[in-house]
Symmetry: none
Subunit: 314 residues, 4 copies
Amino acid sequence: MKMFIDCDPGVDDSVAILFALNRPEVEIVGISTSTGNVSAVQGAENTLRILKLAGMEGKIPVCAGAEKPLVGEVDGFPDFIHGKNGMGDVELPAAEQKAVDMDVCDFMYQKACEYEGELVLVSLGRMTNLANTLAKYPDYAKKIKRVVSMGGTIYSHGNVSPVVEANIGGDPEAADIAMMADWDMTLVGLDVTLKTHLTRSDVDKLLRCCLPEKKEMVSFISEELKYYMDGSRRQNYTMEYSPLHDPLAMVVAVDPSVVNTRKMVTRVECGGTWCRGKVVVDLREQPIEGRFVEHALEVDSRKALNILFAAFQN
Amino acid sequence: MKMFIDCDPGVDDSVAILFALNRPEVEIVGISTSTGNVSAVQGAENTLRILKLAGMEGKIPVCAGAEKPLVGEVDGFPDFIHGKNGMGDVELPAAEQKAVDMDVCDFMYQKACEYEGELVLVSLGRMTNLANTLAKYPDYAKKIKRVVSMGGTIYSHGNVSPVVEANIGGDPEAADIAMMADWDMTLVGLDVTLKTHLTRSDVDKLLRCCLPEKKEMVSFISEELKYYMDGSRRQNYTMEYSPLHDPLAMVVAVDPSVVNTRKMVTRVECGGTWCRGKVVVDLREQPIEGRFVEHALEVDSRKALNILFAAFQN
Amino acid sequence: MKMFIDCDPGVDDSVAILFALNRPEVEIVGISTSTGNVSAVQGAENTLRILKLAGMEGKIPVCAGAEKPLVGEVDGFPDFIHGKNGMGDVELPAAEQKAVDMDVCDFMYQKACEYEGELVLVSLGRMTNLANTLAKYPDYAKKIKRVVSMGGTIYSHGNVSPVVEANIGGDPEAADIAMMADWDMTLVGLDVTLKTHLTRSDVDKLLRCCLPEKKEMVSFISEELKYYMDGSRRQNYTMEYSPLHDPLAMVVAVDPSVVNTRKMVTRVECGGTWCRGKVVVDLREQPIEGRFVEHALEVDSRKALNILFAAFQN
Amino acid sequence: MKMFIDCDPGVDDSVAILFALNRPEVEIVGISTSTGNVSAVQGAENTLRILKLAGMEGKIPVCAGAEKPLVGEVDGFPDFIHGKNGMGDVELPAAEQKAVDMDVCDFMYQKACEYEGELVLVSLGRMTNLANTLAKYPDYAKKIKRVVSMGGTIYSHGNVSPVVEANIGGDPEAADIAMMADWDMTLVGLDVTLKTHLTRSDVDKLLRCCLPEKKEMVSFISEELKYYMDGSRRQNYTMEYSPLHDPLAMVVAVDPSVVNTRKMVTRVECGGTWCRGKVVVDLREQPIEGRFVEHALEVDSRKALNILFAAFQN
């Protein structure tokens, strides 16, 4: 499976990337970043260090993208959950590989052309880069095989407002453009990620069960998750566990059998006090204009977690 | 049970009122109307004719209220479902009773004072009159025993937008004020009304089973529902049935055991494209400021319908 | 939120009280005790020690109430689960504060008058004190805002008989009087408390995650729960966990969104071999005379537990 | 299948008997009656007329049994639902066959001995005859293959009290004896019978679909059900339908695949105001003394009804 990842690492992004790097059938052909959990530049830097940690330095091009959403400005980063550096303030050794010096839209389009019809686009952050590329290259959507995105909430509550999830809420206009594009998109949102609990206990088990050559990666994951779980605890009252956001989307990208889904006519609300960024699905008999987006609604959490951890075992 | 009804009759409002009039333990002490299914004045006129039909002419004061929502203007009426006259274009004989000539806020407040602490306020339309009365008389809420309102949608779809129900969507600012007032409010919304099917077949059974002295009322209900079900069919693809909106709220007012509920921190979104009028509940561990409003989430439909019909039998 | 607590501490009562003391929005204005898990006098003594532990010595008046149910005598205490002293035989330092020397009915009524219309009455034991106060002061019910009570079982099994829960079974006549009073009562019974598992593992996590200044309280909770969980294990075959009774009722009192409820016509059976103390709800179309009491039927256990633990964290 | 029926016809009893008579694999070897819907003598008379209607006159012995419950007296009959004659006041031609002139216990025991180990005992009324026979012949239970009884309510409401079903409530002491006997007993109670709706519409379909030679029986059923459904309507607000009580138990006797069951330790409460006659099941880890009785908890209603009707078709 040829995969392109757009992300904002981010503790849970980094776990998702490391999982993908350790799945034999996945070939990551490029990684782009946008502002979100950290700045796009910081996210690219983090990505390069993660690749080095995984022994993949120099093998996958990385490109820093949008530093701002389509509308408005960035108003700070969620340090309390991702740390100042976006990796729970764990310091990985710097890599020698540098980010490619390209416009991110050109980078994304180039990869889409190179692997035309083959590329699974995994979107783990805001959809700003996707929207910009769709604007610059109207045929971008047609070149992508399918999109799996961590984002949104339909029946569950939100995390940046009562009804809005952070990736969509961080750039609603971009998300609406991406959802209206002519490609197959699956949204893995809070309906399933909040029900999938990543526990300290499971991470400790993984430390004991992982392959020796993967121990360093697992140790890094274990360390950065301490910060992350503590932030989750203070925000969401979760003791020694956290929801599984980006890694669950990545698991779905490689094994969609862990979720039940429904395709629904979908738009993104861009106005309002609490609803700016809300994913609006229309199940009425005569719905609004919109495209059918596939939403994950139920999850086999235990299976998803086991698949995630298994990538680091033999 | 002392009851005050605020409504906008409206086919389903009229069924709800006739049900209440035929429940022995219910004493209706006043009825106010606002714009909604029809104009407030037309709604008052319809109410007077319904009272006459039920043999209650002159016994319950009726007052026409707000002709406009708090913000914006009225843009037409849903003729396709309620008919031009609001009663499925069935013409009931005119009553001699006239609507009281009072400001609706004074009327509502007067009744609340007269039956202080006793009054169940059943709200079947927009909450404009409620909001205006709360503004004019800040202690209005404390005088009301509890409020049961047909409105909103939490997990189900909407009926005037993908996520918005008509009564709340028709005056979001008023609904937000009413929900933030210091009283016990139960919302009976589309989560339960869409699951409760009023069928032609059941109405025909009622025509056969009803008491002779109630036959005229049932015949009227049967006639106006022909128009209403046909509108529902064209809008929602329902053949010879319709959802049960206002009457279900009225059934809940007299017998709350037909629904399961959850109290949730609640606000009303007043902005946005599709979300203006959306009922926003916050189930996060650290919710926004808001009051706990009780939402009906599940319903014993068969029992609710049977209770509705039984009022016209022996 | 002004709160009055009537209880019989009792291990789980003490956890509930400590939770309430650590919720910033809760102001406890008085605590009364009745016989139940221990004698009323012992319960008052325990309460005073708990207040001292929480640094609240002298700030909340405590009053010992009924030592006997309305009918019959006390036949021993459940030592096997609460220990001889009612706190799992953990010895807390004695307080200098003394219980107020008043008739408990006068005490409860006085507080209800002082905070008229504001008081949330949380009832964690038998309803003997409530019934006696209602008898002595017929307008007591009207002065209370709402009642949340741990008690009863509708669809689940009982714990003192196949179909009877201990608080109701301990004084059925009192419970029937309290349920027939004219106030809003929510029963949090075994239908939800048996599904909410308080685990040793979670308590250990709390010991690691709690604030330093709250460590002493959490250590006490941890210690007394050892005894309590062991009793639960011997009675109910639960290894290293127990149901969450009184603390769940307290969580519902501060955040009702953790449960789904149904209001049902309710009485308490006072006769029979296995049914004395059974909560009888009547869902028939033509029910018996009785008042609508709200019963918690479903629970978001994980959220409820997280809210409970969060009071001791930051 | 050799079957013995103990009943109190009764409209629904008569439907159940006619169904059994039309199932080829069922061989009814005797029918006894007790007081319940009508007197035992009237029930025997009705049974004889039903046998004649089915062309079985003289082929199955019928015996009138207990006219009183073990404790207390008969206080009238439910005319409003079964009619004065127990068959909805439909007059069937009298039979020439007479009831056997025997003590019902001797009759029941004789049949049990004659078909030792083979007999399915279908109990459609109070268990008075069963209890008396068990008392007179202690080895009666061992001679019976299994018992299927219409009776009780576990999670549903009752019909003679909020929590008590009529057959058990009509003779609680007898029911407790029968449930403590050493045989396999399945209770088909209101949990499933209230969910199985016998509709006028289905009966009309059966009139159109039945075999010509069975038309007379179906016409009788159709006629007596008019009275029965009208009584149900007045009591339970059911328009042109009724719950399916006795016939469902009979369907379960011949095809148990229509229900899901649970075996639970069971006793019958014999005291109390609302609970006298309540079936008490104990699901606690350490239950009371009692025997495991099998209770039907879920039903495939459509299948059960189709099986019932099919006996009258080809």
